[in-house]
Symmetry: D2
């Protein structure tokens, strides 16, 4: 009985898709711009009743799916340029509005100005929602749009309108938190494999291990995008703060005893829909996951991540002085003993040491590794606490967690010895700690003053 | 097993509600305007992270629920007046926009103007979505707003912004069509009883009869308003076009044999949420219901309503000439024989006949009823085909069905002999026919030219 | 979305029923005994493959549903008499078995004897399971059988075979505990109204009250009898041990605050299927309900019933000496003052007092009621602790709860002042207490020695 | 939302398991026979109420799971030998029964004899049902029992009693037909991989291919063994009768267009539970699958298998004469030309040719293969139509399908060129056709007279 409701529901979805595709397919897909323009106009005008408008929009959406990248860009440009508000009408409405400010007529005038600003672009796009899986279609369409945007700023108002609409649809109140387990549909699990962005899932066996009884996996879903996780987090239940991601990913490792677990480690968080950029729900995810975990495991009281430091090595290359400054005289001595000349980490020679750090081979040289440990940890601490871009932390993962109220708790040496781990941060990882007592204050301090919470140990490391 | 998923899901909802109410309840509800203004400002600014913003908004929403009508109006006025866009910023952005029109900078300028127009009102309102059943809360809040709007046009921009947001949320692509049966949750069925707007449901027995095997009931639901139908339609499966609603509502009537059914009669359609005024989904409902019925009963080929004519008697009072014009010399003779003087239906004396038609007593006088039949049917046909307000049919039900592509198929004499039926249309009812072949053309003709489709018989009746 | 799975599943059930009924209906139902005998033989032989055997059995089951009571009895007698084991074959197999006892051949011989005993009766009956809702059909058929059994002992082996089979099917491991709430299907709630055996449910309003947030209702279901509760219990969550059932049933009473609840009162337990006599699951129900309640309300620690004493008045009539013995000299004095002569409760005159106790009018006479209180409580205590039939408590409700490990905790004066309450026990009710610490020991002591656990107060009352 | 009900249900199952295991685990598992005997006696007597009996049984079942094979056999022997009926009591009851035959007392006496035969073995075993997943436990226990049975006939009565009980529990009326798709739980799909008995599933990719839109997979489930298929069938939807299983299994093959499908090929049927031997439901599976397919694909009208002939090569070894007889003079000539001497297929030299047929290398020799084709097809036709064991077809797959009413429709040359296919039937496969018009008659003819239905072509092949 278990799966039947699920199966039959998604089947009827599939059937509907097939039926509609067949209906739509009766006509050949017309990719001719003039034809598309005419269709867009019909959509924008909504002639012939809503039902037939939707059907027409559905055909147009199907057309879009058959276009190549250049054609899609043209399609979106056409919408952006030709279906915007009419500047003359806007000017009139604005004049009336300003004239009415302070009088009882102001409110009506505001509504009229708003109406004049309302573009037909969005009307067209949201009608595409009529195709099966229309929400997913629009999210993917926005992903296209974002790619084109860099070269084509004229798409910006269209993007903003679409972002606003997607923000409305993906309001966190509409999202559903679900646990994902080995009993979840294979079609969903297959997507996790594709979407996992932090520690690649190697096989179904690897996936099964990540869903075992000492793990938890949660995702947010939208009611109209079934089997499509928006963001998901993988959690390990442990007896202490994890300092080594290999141990977590090892499919041969024994099961942990969850009755003793005190610590939940979020070791992978992946957002899956590029088309939802700017629509935030990550912080709600962690909050709700923590609530759920606490209910199931009352002994849990430490909630932390074991996170990569994706921008560290790249940043070090750009700031040779930082590495130079991180080497104390004592370090320099040890480095010299391990065969690293002072020139190699001098500001203008820093490339030499960084080149040596490429790949993980150096880690096998115990003396060298020992000599580097303090230097690199110090450098990482300074990077996390001090490196800024546009007044926010340079590191994308740090931005996410610090913005959500976490603190930089601990740096871990040789914690991710995969090629990717060595490449991005010489194997270093960091624990961000979510302390329910401090989250609120941290969010506020970070948002208003850019203040970053960090443990004494990390703070001491960073100190000069 | 059947109901368990359902039950447990809604239970956890209830539990969540209780928990949150308890959290919120810790503070006494502060109804003081200054306090509310401060809270609104905090909401609008979103300080302290999204999670705490939501929590604050939830408290404010709870406050709203404890306000009386006058206080609510004040609350909404405060939002409308104090959290709108800043006219000066709008003026600046508009100036830059107009200056940029036609240049590559136009698009960016448009986005900036749009940003300047974005008010904090909506930001505040949508954060209320954070309370359990937040969507229903906002729908009900808009119902309040609509009531206040008549006296307080300054609320209009707030209403428009909220309507826009609700239209986004209640996009028909998000709605779920569900059959409602005697196996549906009692809590849902209880709501049908309360919401039924056409033919009052007298008892659970009456309701059960309307859900029997020769009936169907369908409703649209929103995923975040479970157990809350948005609009529902009651269908009877028959062998011919129903001409008598009493027969349909009679709980003693024998079950129809659905294997012989050729005709689906939509005998009651009720929209339930005043707060969704302007958000349309009724036409999609009928389309999807027809699709579903066809799949289950392949012999069905007639889809029609048996509808009230709610505005007929009221309209006749206001147009005494129409009644006078509907009486042919032959009618006049029959009326005279039945004791109705010619003066009683003369244009300036029409009140006399209309007064006699009050209540249904006249229907018991066979001679009088016979003499009136042609007159009233003719009057009704002209009312439906000709009476207009703002270029659209005067009758609200006619507006709905004709706008959806139906045609006026047949008028039925003594079809609703309830007090309400006599009062609004002297017992007359009308069948609107949904002919899948003609719907599209009808929608188009009605929308563009106001053309109304009608059967030959009705058209002949209306002819002068 | 919530209810859709539910609805569609049960619909497909209904559709299947209709389809099958139509298939079956092609032939007229033949009620002629010779025809039935032939059909039974075909069923018993299982000719033509299992699929067609099942179809044939389904036809026969449909036939049964169209028979009147006398015909059904004839049908069942035919199965009982003509499809039993063959005594001669049994004799042969038995002889071989006894000869083999103690030798290695014993086991095979036992299997052969068992095969010879296997009757075709059950084979016929269980094939009836092929009709939709076949399990319910067999349960109802056994209810018929039990009614006929009293007059027709020849049906006994058939009854025993069917009971054995039903016991296998209704093994408690297969039953599902479900909470019933106001969100449960109306079709299910309607059945509760019909099945409630202790305190009649007066209206949907009354039912809704019993499902409110300070109440719980649980039932056992069988996976093949959806929407058909087998046994259900109604629970009130209170702050003390209830002593008055009117208070619990009062639909005007305010909601209790469940966060303060310490006590769960089982105030109504109804078994619904007479055809499941002898199949026990009541004790599992209470155990699982207690577990579920504890999980949801950790402060709960008292689990008790507020139960009727259905056999008390009837027993008193049959044992006039018991009443006489319950009147102490002090009572006699008070009774005399209230107008009850000593003769009225003398062993041979006891009818007089009992006659006065008919109806509840006496309770309005404060002096009389006060004089009777001790007497009747004493009598009730002795009845519960001492009255035996076949070595088990005379009172059916006492048998159930004491057999499940409860103890007699408290007697309550004027606790059920309904006509039924006065008629069966002069308004007295009893609390049976389920003390998790004592249940096991009580069950054992009761089963092995017939020992009854009771509170000191009740024990003192009963003492002579 | 989709999977959540599913997930939470199975989670609560898991949690229950954990909790109970913890409860049980408090005591060390005692494997000492005397201790076990005592526990069995307590179970059989059911002391201390049903709840504690169940708990005790659950402990015993847990014990069983920790025993090794020899200990399990001892455990089952103990139950079989020591908890059977008492021969003396049986003798008494039997004597009374025979004395009563023909008198009104017969029926009561039969019931008493039946009671005397009722053993405590089954009582013990069914109480094991109390552990979570108790049904699966008993099915697995019977699988053990069947393994031991060959060497230990004394276990036979226990096996028969358990089979009878499992037959009652697995009555086809209780089974649920479910479609399995790529949306089914991964935990279920993983089991398919393990259980597939006909064409091994190589990878998740292979599995996904078998669940694609031109395939169907159905299984029977028991409500108390969720995620545990009892038997499953894989179906391909095609435009003609498949003659080549490689084509079906090729994961690179293009998707078939199911709108054109006329033919459903059951290309793999696997029963999964050895412990359910003797409990039949395979024929119901095919009937219900055919019904379901017809509803979804109205153009389907051919329902057939593409089946292995698992016993062909083995049978040919044992019947050298059959091969010799299958070679016509024309064949002999062709074989000689291909290098096969007449001696190699003479009755006493047949091993030589059969040895050459080992492995599939011969198939690459076009001349040899051509020379062998008629011979082997003829041999296979005779094997299927004529080879008998205990009056039923020697071939297990033939027994299954012919018993279900299929006919031998077509033999296919080089249809399964896997090593297994060559080994068991030199690459030959057979289509069994399920013709709804003939199934009933075929079942009857096969059951009563052993008559096998076959197409003219196959019949002609077999003719001598």
């Amino acid at each position: 009985m278990t799966g039947s409701g699920l199966v039959s529901r998604s089947l009827s979805k599939v059937r509907e898709l097939v039926v509609n595709a067949a209906q739509l397919g009766r006509e050949t897909v017309a990719k001719d711009p003039e034809h598309i323009r005419r269709q867009l106009q019909e959509c924008a005008e909504g002639r012939g009743g809503e039902v037939s408008t939707r059907l027409r929009a559905a055909r147009l959406a199907e057309t879009y799916l058959h276009l190549d990248d250049a054609q899609r860009r043209g399609f979106l440009r056409m919408i952006a340029h030709e279906f915007g508000p009419d500047p003359a009408q806007v000017a009139n409405a604005h004049e009336a509005y300003q004239a009415a400010v302070g009088t009882p007529a102001q409110w009506d005038a505001e509504a009229r100005l708003r109406a004049a600003m309302r573009s037909r672009r969005l009307r067209i796009l949201t009608q595409f929602n009529a195709i099966p899986q229309g929400v997913k279609f629009l999210v993917d369409l926005r992903a296209d749009l974002l790619r084109y945007l860099a070269d084509d700023p004229a798409l910006k108002p269209l993007d903003r309108e679409l972002e606003t609409r997607l923000s409305a649809w993906f309001d966190v109140g509409f999202l559903e938190l679900q646990r994902i387990t080995w009993n979840s549909p294979a079609a969903l699990l297959e997507k996790l494999v594709g979407y996992e962005a932090v520690h690649e899932i190697q096989s179904w066996q690897d996936l099964k291990n990540r869903l075992d009884s000492d793990r938890r996996c949660y995702a947010f879903f939208h009611p109209r995008m079934p089997l499509e996780p928006l963001i998901f987090v993988q959690v390990a239940l442990l007896e202490d703060l994890a300092d080594d991601v290999q141990r977590l990913l090892d499919i041969e490792a024994p099961l942990a005893d969850t009755t003793k677990a005190t610590t939940a480690i979020f070791y992978s968080i992946s957002a899956t829909q590029p088309g939802l950029r700017g629509v935030s729900f990550g912080n709600f995810l962690l909050k709700r996951v923590i609530d759920d975990l606490k209910r199931d495991f009352p002994r849990l009281h430490v909630f932390a991540t074991l996170s990569p430091i994706p921008g560290l090595a790249r940043w070090a290359r750009r700031h040779p002085d930082a590495l130079a400054a991180a080497v104390t005289p004592a370090d320099a001595k040890r480095l010299a003993a391990a065969g690293v000349a002072a020139d190699d980490f001098a500001t203008d020679g820093v490339g030499a040491l960084l080149d040596r750090l490429d790949g993980g081979a150096w880690a096998a040289d115990a003396a060298l590794a020992a000599a580097l440990q303090d230097v690199l940890l110090r450098l990482a601490a300074r990077y996390l606490l001090e490196a800024r871009r546009d007044e926010r932390p340079t590191d994308a993962v740090a931005r996410f967690h610090l913005g959500n109220g976490a603190r930089v708790e601990r740096l871990n040496w040789l914690a991710d010895t995969s090629p990717k781990g060595f490449a991005q941060s010489w194997g270093l990882m960091v624990n961000y700690l979510y302390d329910p007592e401090r989250i609120e204050a941290n969010v506020e301090a970070f948002a208003s003053e850019g203040r970053i919470d960090a443990s004494t140990a990390v703070r001491r490391l960073a100190r000069r």
